[in-house]
């Protein structure tokens, strides 16, 4: 299964690429609608308490204002168990920035101006927004309540093994709050008519939006359509509809059919659409003389919101990564009066592997073993906790291939000894891993139009990853027709139900669905179907699910320079080699890996939402204050992958590539920064002052 690296053919171009670069691809806010109104939200300026009074007189007098909506005049929504969607249902305030009303007007400007004139009075209550390890806020999430949560793991005797270990590491790492900041802000246009509700919305799953918004308003699902042909990035922040969708739909109930438009500002995106919660992770590792792990302990504390629980599972990264006879893995939450966190690109893995892979580097240094070699020595034969065989695991191949190409073997292991001019130079490595997920429940329709042309429909969403292109390719391949003979329709509830674009599971889940639907089509209509022949079908259960441990892997190498005078950190060179099953389209796949690694550089060096706990909000809440890596921060980033044929993961052999690129990047960079300077920084991001001496 460990092939040589791929022979490249770039793969078809992104189908909607031309439309996107010429500006004709329509994003949510850009859909032409007749006679729209514009919404500007009212947001709480206290972190906890109650709204005691709202004076809308001045706002209502502003020219063009059509509606001021608050909890006083908002209709009752059906409680569906998601507090984020239950907007304007009471006077209670659970976090700063919470939606407490809206102004709807003829122009965006008059809505914003009127919103400034609404006078809101509060009863303040004491709040707690200070993320810390303190018994009065820390609890253990109920792992039985959700399949996404893993219970505490305790195998063997970690303490005894650590006491006897030849080499040990005991280190605490912290990662800060981070915000997704996709290029396209969250945006929605809502319109009610006799048929029901139409939403032009930016999301990761139009069917999921419908499945939640329809019951919220007590209408049948068929009466809600959600249209999302193009989405400009999401990273998890558009995985679930947030309060703004409910608010806009609620406002549109009052406008006699006129559509209501709302695009969030960057600042609002720091409060209303989720974030990666901060973590504090302690990792203890013990190894024998040869560097083989005898004990692995990973305890993570992560922030959640009292308003709505979200349980990140960073420590779980250490469950199946390396062999270790003794192991303890725990995840704890600290609940605060803050907005609800949510999934953000590799949720859990990104932060968890930062801690584990930094600790592995510390172990390599203390044991005097090359960090690539250390990882190779700890390769498990079967998945450590479950005991299941791996469907395929090519981490060693990634490490070896990467080391070879990066020139790793010439590396002098001593930290802090290479200097070029004012810059200290070092290199580092880290492993990447991400589970191969499959979301059931999608359906695809295959229709023979005429003359060998096929129409394929699946209600998936292309969030910019290239799903439209990859699915067209897979459909063409299964139909045994050229790519040009397939017209693929996605991005709307008009197409058959499809799962969320998330968990790097899109191509695996939808691709399998399309391929299975083609099989069903052929069974029903044969190889010479009449025009109009049509079949709708989905993918069955994978017989190998639960029989194998399924993950993708990768190895990332970084060269880092740290300025000896100022502490500034630069990353001139990175290489990532991945093993992620079948790569359907090398061109768009490369973008996913590259984008993941670039976001990893950004996570390593820059991203940090600074919370002022006195107010309970992020104070650097715009893109001037919240830094994302710019072009000048990203040097050469090379990406490649190992050919991997995995017959077990799913019918298309795809493992998923959207998230693994960001996993391990920050550790590789931190490890290289240590190699450059001898300074071990354990708190992200790696800002200059942390290297100053």
């Amino acid at each position: 299964m460990t092939g040589a690296t791929r022979a490249t053919s770039p793969g078809p171009e992104r189908i909607e690429g031309h439309a996107k670069v010429t500006g004709t691809a329509r994003y949510a806010f850009e859909h032409p609608v007749a006679d729209p109104l514009y919404l500007h939200p009212l947001r709480a300026t206290i972190a906890r308490g109650r709204v005691t009074s709202v004076d809308t007189t001045a706002a209502e007098r502003v020219d063009g204002v059509r509606l001021v909506l608050t909890h006083h005049n908002a209709e009752a929504l059906v409680p569906i168990g998601d507090p984020e969607l239950a907007v304007l249902q009471s006077d209670e305030i659970a976090f700063r920035g919470q939606l407490i009303g809206a102004v709807v007007a003829e122009t965006q400007e008059s809505a914003a101006h009127a919103a400034d004139l609404v006078e809101i009075r509060y009863e303040r209550m004491a709040h707690d927004s200070d993320f810390r390890d303190d018994a009065d806020i820390v609890y253990t999430p109920d792992a039985d309540a959700s399949p996404m949560l893993s219970p505490d793991l305790e195998e063997g005797d970690v303490d005894a093994a650590l006491a006897d270990a030849a080499f040990t590491v005991d280190a605490t790492y912290t990662t800060p709050t981070e915000h997704h900041n996709p290029l396209e802000p969250h945006a929605v246009i809502a319109a009610w008519d006799d048929d029901g509700l139409t939403l032009h919305d930016s999301n990761q799953g139009s069917h999921l939006v419908r499945d939640l918004i329809a019951p919220l308003f007590g209408v049948d699902k068929e009466r809600v359509s959600v249209i999302s042909p193009h989405v400009g990035g999401a990273f998890g922040s558009k995985g679930m509809p947030h309060g703004h969708v409910a608010l806009t739909a609620l406002a549109a109930r009052h406008t006699a059919g006129r559509p209501v438009k709302y695009a969030l500002s960057r600042t609002q995106m720091f409060e209303l659409v989720g974030y990666r919660p901060p973590t504090r992770q302690r990792v203890r590792l013990g190894a024998d003389r040869e560097g083989r792990l005898v004990a692995t302990e990973h305890d993570s504390l992560e922030q959640t919101s009292r308003f709505k629980q979200y349980a990140e599972q960073s420590a779980s990264a250490s469950r199946e990564m390396y062999t270790s006879p003794n192991r303890r893995v725990t995840n704890r939450l600290a609940a605060l009066d803050v907005p609800a966190p949510t999934w953000m690109r590799a949720p859990g893995e990104a932060g968890g592997m930062y801690a584990l892979e930094s600790a592995m580097d510390e172990l390599a240094v203390s044991a005097g073993i090359d960090p690539v070699e250390l990882r190779l020595r700890n390769e498990p034969e079967v998945a450590p906790v479950s005991g299941l065989p791996f469907s395929s695991r090519n981490l060693p191949a990634c490490l070896r291939e990467g080391a070879e190409r990066f020139g790793w073997h010439e590396r002098d292991p001593r930290p802090g000894v290479r200097r070029e001019g004012d810059w200290l130079v070092g290199t580092g490595v880290a492993a990447s891993s991400f589970p191969s997920l499959f979301f059931p429940g999608s359906l695809a329709t295959i229709r023979h139009e005429s003359g060998g042309k096929y129409r394929v429909e699946i209600g998936a969403v292309d969030i910019g990853t290239g799903s439209r292109t990859a699915l067209t390719q897979l459909a063409a391949e299964a139909l045994e027709v050229p790519v040009e003979a397939v017209e693929l329709w996605l991005g709307s509830t008009e197409q058959p139900h499809a799962s969320l674009a998330g968990g790097s599971a899109g191509t695996a889940s939808w691709g399998s669905t399309v391929v299975e639907a083609v099989r069903a089509f052929r069974t029903e209509h044969g190889h010479d179907p009449v025009s109009g022949a049509e079949t709708t079908a989905g993918a069955g259960k994978n017989p190998d699910a639960g029989e194998y441990a399924m993950h993708s892997y990768g190895a990332q190498f970084a060269e880092v320079r740290v300025n000896a005078d100022t502490g500034e950190v630069r990353v001139p060179r990175m290489l990532g080699v991945f093993a992620a099953g079948r790569i359907v389209n090398p061109r768009t796949a490369r973008s996913q890996f590259l984008g993941g690694m670039t976001m990893g550089i950004s996570m390593a060096l820059h991203e940090h939402s600074v919370v002022d706990e006195r107010f309970g909000h992020v104070v650097n809440h715009d893109l001037a204050g919240y830094h994302i890596a710019g072009n000048a921060d990203v040097g050469s980033v090379e990406v490649d992958w190992i050919d991997e044929h995995d017959p077990h993961v799913n019918p298309v052999g795809v493992k998923g590539i959207g998230e693994i690129g960001i996993v391990g990047t920050a550790a590789a960079i931190g490890n290289a920064a240590h190699h450059a300077t001898g300074v071990r920084v354990r708190d992200l991001p790696l800002t200059p002052e942390k290297f100053l001496r």
Binding site: T45, E109, A112, H113, D116, D422, D565, T566, G567, E568, R570, L605, H606, V610, D612, R614, F615, V619, N620, H621, D622, A624, G625, H627, A629, G630, N631, A632, D633, T687, P688, E689, L692, R693
Partner: protein, 330 residues
């Protein structure tokens, strides 16, 4: 954002009378700072007087060796001006290190000088700030103050001035030419911006209605060997954590004259007179550089998040002096 009037001025006198006669009126240059402030609700002018069509858009070399920069010259044009690049590289470098290409294409010389602090509490009308709302309190004093001042601050305000260009101008001893309802006056750049004291709401010594018409650079031949070094969190498009503007005159290993200004440290571009005193007449050695930095930073008072600025400034100043004196000697 409050509705407002907009007028395009055709000559300086009418611009000045439009603004000075109306307490709610403001000049607008490139608008890259003021318009943001209007959207954020920090500034609520009733009237904007656009001055970008006034005849202040050129850079002139004067017969006595000085250079006059019109107030509406765009930052990108100024940075590209041959006379600036050759005779005052510190200024060209400072300009090019600021903001982004798009912003520099709009930003004007006058607007850049008069841009306001980036303190995040100042920019957020939902948090107390003495500069925005006198007497409301300073949220930064005990809040997130990583970008805040270590020199010349007061209990009322610990904000820093964000301009890179102004730091270079302070090092060069530039003058600001101002016209107001009562006529013209000249203000040295080093005296244009104020320390916060008890009135942090006043950034500068300008009075309402006074129009900046030009900035003048003295001849200063040794400025042709000058340097601007900006330390920041990102390799581009980030405000300075600290910055150093310096010009050195070196004769046989001795520093005979020197100009230094520091950015990111104070409510104004900080002219480093103490450091200059130590350097003038001293040998160009690492020891001298460190002593100069220490002399300037002796008065530093750090806050919760900005302690690093002292060693960062010390190292950066030494590094810039090292580079400049190496250049001069070679």
């Amino acid at each position: 954002m409050k509705p407002f009037d907009y007028q395009r001025a055709t000559d300086a006198d009418s611009a000045i009378s439009l603004v000075s006669g109306d307490p709610e009126a403001r000049y607008i240059g490139g608008g890259t700072n003021l318009v943001d402030h209007m959207k954020l609700g920090i500034a609520e002018p009733g009237k904007l007087v656009d001055i970008t069509r006034l005849p202040y858009d050129s850079v002139e070399s004067l017969p006595d060796g000085r250079v006059r920069i019109g107030a509406t010259v765009r930052n990108s044009d100024l940075a590209a001006e041959p006379v600036i690049r050759q005779r005052y590289p510190v200024l060209a470098q400072a300009l090019l290190s600021g903001a982004s290409g798009q912003l520099r294409n709009l930003a004007t010389t006058g607007g850049n000088l008069l841009q306001r602090t980036r303190c995040s509490y100042f920019q957020d009308v939902t948090t107390p700030c003495n500069k925005r709302e006198p007497g409301s309190g300073c949220s930064a004093l005990e809040g997130w103050n990583r970008h805040h001042a270590v020199l010349g601050a007061s209990e009322r305000c610990v904000a820093t001035h964000p301009s890179d260009m102004a730091v270079a101008l302070a090092a060069l001893d530039a003058d600001v030419l101002v016209e107001g309802p009562d006529g013209q006056r000249t203000v040295p750049v080093t005296e244009l911006h104020r320390l916060p004291g008890d009135e942090p709401e006043r950034d500068t010594v300008l009075r309402h209605g006074e129009l900046v018409t030009a900035v003048e650079l003295p001849s200063l031949p040794f400025a042709s060997r000058s340097r601007y070094r900006k330390v920041r969190d990102r390799a581009s498009f980030a405000f300075a954590l600290v910055s150093v503007a310096a010009a050195v005159e070196l004769v046989e290993g001795t520093i005979t004259d020197v100009r230094i200004a520091l950015g990111g440290l104070a409510h104004k571009p900080w002219r480093a007179t103490e450091a200059e005193r130590v350097l003038r007449g001293a040998p160009a050695t690492e020891e001298t550089f460190r002593a100069a930095a220490d002399a300037e930073l002796a008065a530093a008072r750090t806050l919760r998040d900005n302690e690093f600025k002292v060693p960062m400034t010390r190292n950066t100043l030494a590094s810039v002096l090292r580079e400049l004196t190496r250049q001069e000697g070679s």
